[in-house]
Amino acid sequence: MHLSGRFLPWVAAIAAITLVAGLFWGFFLTPDDYRQGSTVKIIYLHVPTALMAINGWFMMLVASLIWLIRRHHVSALVAKAAAPVGMTMTLIALATGAIWGEPMWGTWWAWDPRLTSFLILFLFYLGYQALWHAIDDPDTAADLTSVLCIVGSVFALLSRYAVLFWNQGLHQGASLSLDSQQHVDNVFWVPLVICMCGFGLAFLALVLVRTRTEIRSRRLQALLLRERMA
C-alpha cells in the first residue's frame, strides 16, 4: 500500500502532463488531412482509448489468472479496479469512433466490425462489474469474476473474428502498425504516440487509485468484522 502511495502522485502527474501535451499538439499544431479534413484530429482520442480498452481487459485477464493461481488478494482487487476504467476507455473509443465515422459513412452508427467489437467488449465489461456487485462475499466474488474474465476473453476474441466475418467493414486500415511501414506520415505520428503514453499512464494512475480504494474498503470490512465478532 505505502509503495503505491509513493508512486501514485508521480504517475498521476506525468500522466496529466503527457496527456495534455499530446492532445494539445494533436489538436492545435497538426494540419488537416487532405481527404478527411479536420476530423483526423479525433485520431488522438480514438486510437489510444481503443488500445487502452483492449489492454485494460488483458490486464484484468492477467490479474484474474494471478488471483486463481497464486491467491494474491491484491491482484483480484486490481482486476476489479481496472474494470470501470477500461469500460470508460471503451465508451470513449466508441463515441469518438462513431463521431469520426459520421461524415464519411453518413450515419452515426454503420455497424462497422471494429466498432461493433468494441460494443461487445463494452457488454463484457458491464457483465463483469455486474457480477462483482451481485456477490457480497469478497472471496467467492473474486473467484467467480476471475473465471468469467477468462472465459469472457476467449469469447471476446471469438466475437472479434465473428464480427469481421459478418461484415467486411469500412474501418480505415491500421493507422499505426508497428511492424509495417508507417501509414501515417510522421507529422501526425509523434503526437499520437504521446497521446498513447498519456492515456496509458492515465489508465495506470486511475487503476492505482481505485485499487487503493478497494484495499482500504477490504480493510474497513475486516475491521468492522472484528468489531462485530469481539
Binding site: 491467491r71 469478497p138 475486516a222 475491521l223 465478532m229 469481539a230
Partner: protein, 204 residues
Amino acid sequence: MELSVTDLACQRGGALVLQNLNFVIPSGRALILRGRNGAGKTTLLRTLAGLQPPSCGHIKVPPDSIIYSSHSDGVKDMLTVAENLMFWGNVFQKPYANAARQMNLDGLLSRPAHSLSAGQKRRLGLARLCISDRPIWLLDEPTISLDAASVALFEIMLRLHLQNGGMAIIATHVDCGVDDMILDLGPFRPVKQLLPDGFDEAFL
C-alpha cells in the same frame, strides 16, 4: 481406516467460526457434535465433507469414503419414492431395496415424493446413506421431524453401520442412542480473528 483432524480452523461468510480443532475417530465409533446454534456444527461438517476448504490445518481421510447428509434431504418432489431411491442407487451403483426396507419405506415406494410428510422425506433422505456403502457418515441433525418409531429405526441403522466398521459424525441436540465420543464445540471459538489467508484478514 480412520478420520484424523489436526489443527483445523473453518470459516463461514469470511469470519472464523472454529479454531485449532484436533480429534481422531477410529473405525466403528461415532462422534456427537454438541454446541449452541451458530457454534459451527454445520460449517465443520461441510468442511469435513470437502464442500468448503478449511482456513488452516488439514483433514486426513481416505478418498471417496465420506457421505454427507445436510438439513435438506435432496428429495425430488416430482419423482416417486422408488425413483428417488433408484436415482441414488444408480449414482452409487448399489441396489436400493435393502435401504428401503431398513427405513421401512416399502409401503411408500409408489407414492410421489411431494405427497410425503416431512418425517417420511427425512427417512427417504436417510435411506440414501444405506444405499452408498461409504464408511464415513456426516449427518447434520438427522433426527429432525422424525417420530419416535423412525428415530428408533435410525438408531438401529446407525448401530448396524458402526458394527460393520463404519464411522459417523453427527451434529444433533437429541440423544440418538450411541453416545461414544461427545465433542462440545464451545471451547473452539476463535480467540484471535486474524488469520493470514482469510480474504479480509489478509488486509489487517
